[in-house]
Symmetry: D2
Subunit: 135 residues, 4 copies
Amino acid sequence: MIGRSFEHKIKIYYQDTDCEGVVYYANYLTYLERSRMECLEELGFDLKKLKEKGILFVVASVDIRYLLPAYLADILLLKTYITKVGVASLNFYCEIYNKSLLINKSNVTLVCIDDNFKPQPLTEQLRDKFKECLQ
Amino acid sequence: MIGRSFEHKIKIYYQDTDCEGVVYYANYLTYLERSRMECLEELGFDLKKLKEKGILFVVASVDIRYLLPAYLADILLLKTYITKVGVASLNFYCEIYNKSLLINKSNVTLVCIDDNFKPQPLTEQLRDKFKECLQ
Amino acid sequence: MIGRSFEHKIKIYYQDTDCEGVVYYANYLTYLERSRMECLEELGFDLKKLKEKGILFVVASVDIRYLLPAYLADILLLKTYITKVGVASLNFYCEIYNKSLLINKSNVTLVCIDDNFKPQPLTEQLRDKFKECLQ
Amino acid sequence: MIGRSFEHKIKIYYQDTDCEGVVYYANYLTYLERSRMECLEELGFDLKKLKEKGILFVVASVDIRYLLPAYLADILLLKTYITKVGVASLNFYCEIYNKSLLINKSNVTLVCIDDNFKPQPLTEQLRDKFKECLQ
């Protein structure tokens, strides 16, 4: 990957695990979302203010591979990249590491929508900021 | 308990359990809430319509005892009672059974609020319906 | 799709929604998992007994498209199909409907593992049962 | 409160909120549990190692008051205190602050159990460490 990498850590608590003793598969999507929210904040965007202006993001698709399990008290490292900036969409690629092992990778597509859940073009300011991250 | 009992079943899936092999303690509060929503619907109330009229309910307190664990694929039976109808509040008592064993009991206080999260009196219609359940 | 369809209903409660007013994207994966567990039970398999024999299933990949949002109190219909039976893997395709609208579709790959999280071939009994569903 | 205070911060993400726009009430129990796990780690205990020795903790009761709501992107401060050390039990009191406002307070009782979910006395080492926190 080239382009700016955003790095965040996530610690695994009881709530994240299931009775097979590992992190439950749906929870990885919550980690991806936390990481995307942190990315936006690091780029200077305030999700609450965007929302007040009628700018929202929804997930249009997720493609995720589970390579290795994670366990209680593990500390995961997420490396998130913006891989494409479309007219009204945004692609993220994320690798999750447990110690030095790659345990999960995913592609997520977000779509920018208005208050009525209709797609709308990214503002120029958003697009410029995101494009700076591409490389 | 005297008064009308509302009964609902909840099945335990992987998402409900944690790495100790049992249902995670916070998830019982989600079952209580599902059961309260079903109660309101059985009494003829539509939460979406109430919300449109500016009538919302929030939880003010929970007092819950965990007596026995529950496991994957168990089917829990919730018996919910309305125990008190206040000016702007509502008390629920719930017993959760796993087969014939009582595994959990709780008291929950709801407060009726408006769009600005300020308490407001229950409408007469709501109060009457709830009082009918008291016995 | 040809092949046997497994149908299950999921009702949306507060816990399923987020502050954008719709079902949170990660929760769809919990619905898919509930549906898969129901499929296995309908086919006569008991997940607890399989586990005792050292037969577990983990998710290897998910490819999911979010087409339309879902809201509080909606009742979703999941139509699940087994689309491929591999030596140690199993593919599911699921469509989620809200009233008559298709709101979500996904492909999930499961891998059969042993107690040590190593892939192991499906037993003949499992493979036969799953293959019967293919068409 | 006198006694040692353990302080932890929790950031609110989409997954924590519901369609009323605030943090869903059951999620506070997940924050309390994260905080208790951090307490134990700060006191030098390793939950995985305790588990291997057959020492587990389960929640026996929760008494929680919801005073004010919390919102997306808020950063909550949890102040946790050990308030009682019993033969086989442990009491925690926690206050949650949003900026300078107290939004939630709770008492939680944990019971020390063995592999078979039977209560067992706290080891001397655990009891001594916990008692040091009482004041």
